[in-house]
């Protein structure tokens, strides 16, 4: 085994990914978890750069570390600040699944082609054809763009429609203005939605709750979000 700078870099990035993953599992503060997920995405992006997958790294940094962190923060602000501790006996099932899936992946490592192997299935047949034909047929240096936009234009059209449908679905459910303040909810006891209180369909939901019943009030508030959205 040789210790080239790239090897040490990859090893360091993998080690940091592992530490961040364990931290995400152990920490209870949702704010810290969201931030650590952003860190995880950024580390993955750095690792993709070291694997020469610049396009993937780009996407990972922008989507994983940027947009999804913000969306998770927005979702967190609507719910709770702390995750509830899970009793150990409920953790055994997921742990078993993780162990089995991990062992299956270790078993599969033997079949992985070496990094940069020109004869691996991904590089040999149609991949080599694309790389060769792009120069001749499309005259652009970036083969990834040529494959995405031209050779696989149908697939990219499908992806665009998927993104459109995702946005449309969220708009149909929530509305661009969050129903323009026509609804009220009280996660963690503080009020959301500055608009005038609408005539409630179920008057019980809008009654001020005593402090002692805070968990029940929280549950009702969540239900309110679900009902009125």
């Amino acid at each position: 085994m040789h210790f080239s700078p790239i090897f040490i870099l990859d090893f360091g990035l993998m080690a940091m990914l592992l530490v961040v993953a364990f931290a995400v599992v152990r920490i209870r503060s949702l704010f810290a978890i969201v931030m650590l997920q952003g860190v995880y995405s950024l580390l993955s992006a750095a690792w993709f750069v070291s694997l020469d997958a610049v396009d993937v790294a780009f996407t990972e940094a922008a989507v994983g570390a940027g947009i999804s962190t913000v969306l998770m923060l927005g979702a967190m602000l609507l719910t709770d600040r702390q995750a509830k501790p899970i009793p150990v006996h409920q953790k055994m099932g997921p742990f078993l699944v993780v162990v089995v899936a991990g062992l299956a992946m270790f078993y599969a490592i033997g079949d992985m082609p070496a990094y940069g192997d020109a004869l691996s299935p991904a590089n040999a047949y149609i991949g080599a054809e694309y790389i060769e034909a792009t120069k001749r047929e499309i005259f652009i240096p970036n083969v990834v763009t040529a494959v995405l936009a031209s050779y696989r234009g149908y697939d990219t059209f499908g992806e665009t429609v998927v993104i459109f449908m995702a946005g449309l679905g969220v708009l149909l459910l929530l509305g661009l203005n969050g129903n323009a303040g026509k609804w009220r909810a009280k996660p963690n006891g503080h009020n959301i939605g500055e608009g005038a209180p609408t005539p409630a369909r179920n008057p019980v939901e809008n009654e001020p709750k005593p402090v002692a019943k805070s968990t029940k009030a929280k549950r009702t508030a969540k239900k309110t979000v679900g009902v009125k959205s």
Binding site: F31, V54, D55, F58, T59, A62, V63, G66, I67, V70, L71, G74, A75, L77, L78, R81, E137, I138, F139, I140, P141, N142, V144, T145, A146, L148, A149, S150, G153, Y154, T156, F157, E159, T160, V161, I163, F164, A166, G167, L168, V170, L171, L173, L174, G175, L176, N177, G178, N179, A180, H190, N191, I192, G193
Partner: protein, 147 residues
């Protein structure tokens, strides 16, 4: 949010650069890494940064929600329309060579890729902003202990 002076100043300096970088990624995607999807996400991230620092109402003044509805649909229509245009010119769906069949350096491919990447860019930017506006409009003002 008035106490966060450093954040405001730094964000004001960064947002134009983020937008510029997004357009660079968009229009240089044929030659370097990136393309419509990455550029759209980067531009949306810049606008979301503006919304986070200056408030979502200021962001809605800068990029009104009505643009978002139009932009989301326009992107898909531009992509699909490019395919329909190649049909009308006598080729297959998304067969860009039809735009310039005589070209020796695949100009038709360049135009086709430019058009569809622009469509992807529009849809992705607007869909990301739509999701952010939908969630962000429901979020209460951040209190100081949340930072």
């Amino acid at each position: 949010m008035s106490p966060h002076l450093v954040l405001r100043v730094v964000a004001k300096m960064l947002i134009p650069l983020i937008a510029l970088f997004a357009f660079y990624v968009q229009f240089h995607g044929d030659f370097g890494p990136g393309g419509g999807f990455q550029a759209g996400v980067i531009l949306a991230a810049g606008i979301i940064l503006y919304a986070l620092v200056f408030g979502i109402d200021a962001a809605k003044k800068a990029v009104p929600p009505s643009w978002i509805r139009i932009g989301m649909s326009f992107g898909v229509l531009l992509y699909g329309g490019t395919g329909v245009a190649t049909w009308m010119l006598g080729g297959n769906f998304l067969d860009y060579t039809q735009f310039a069949p005589e070209s020796t350096h695949a100009a038709g491919q360049h135009w086709g890729i430019f058009a569809v990447e622009l469509g992807v860019f529009c849809t992705v930017t607007c869909a990301m902003l739509a999701i952010f506006y939908a969630f962000g409009s429901r979020t209460p003002e951040l209190s100081d202990e949340d930072w």
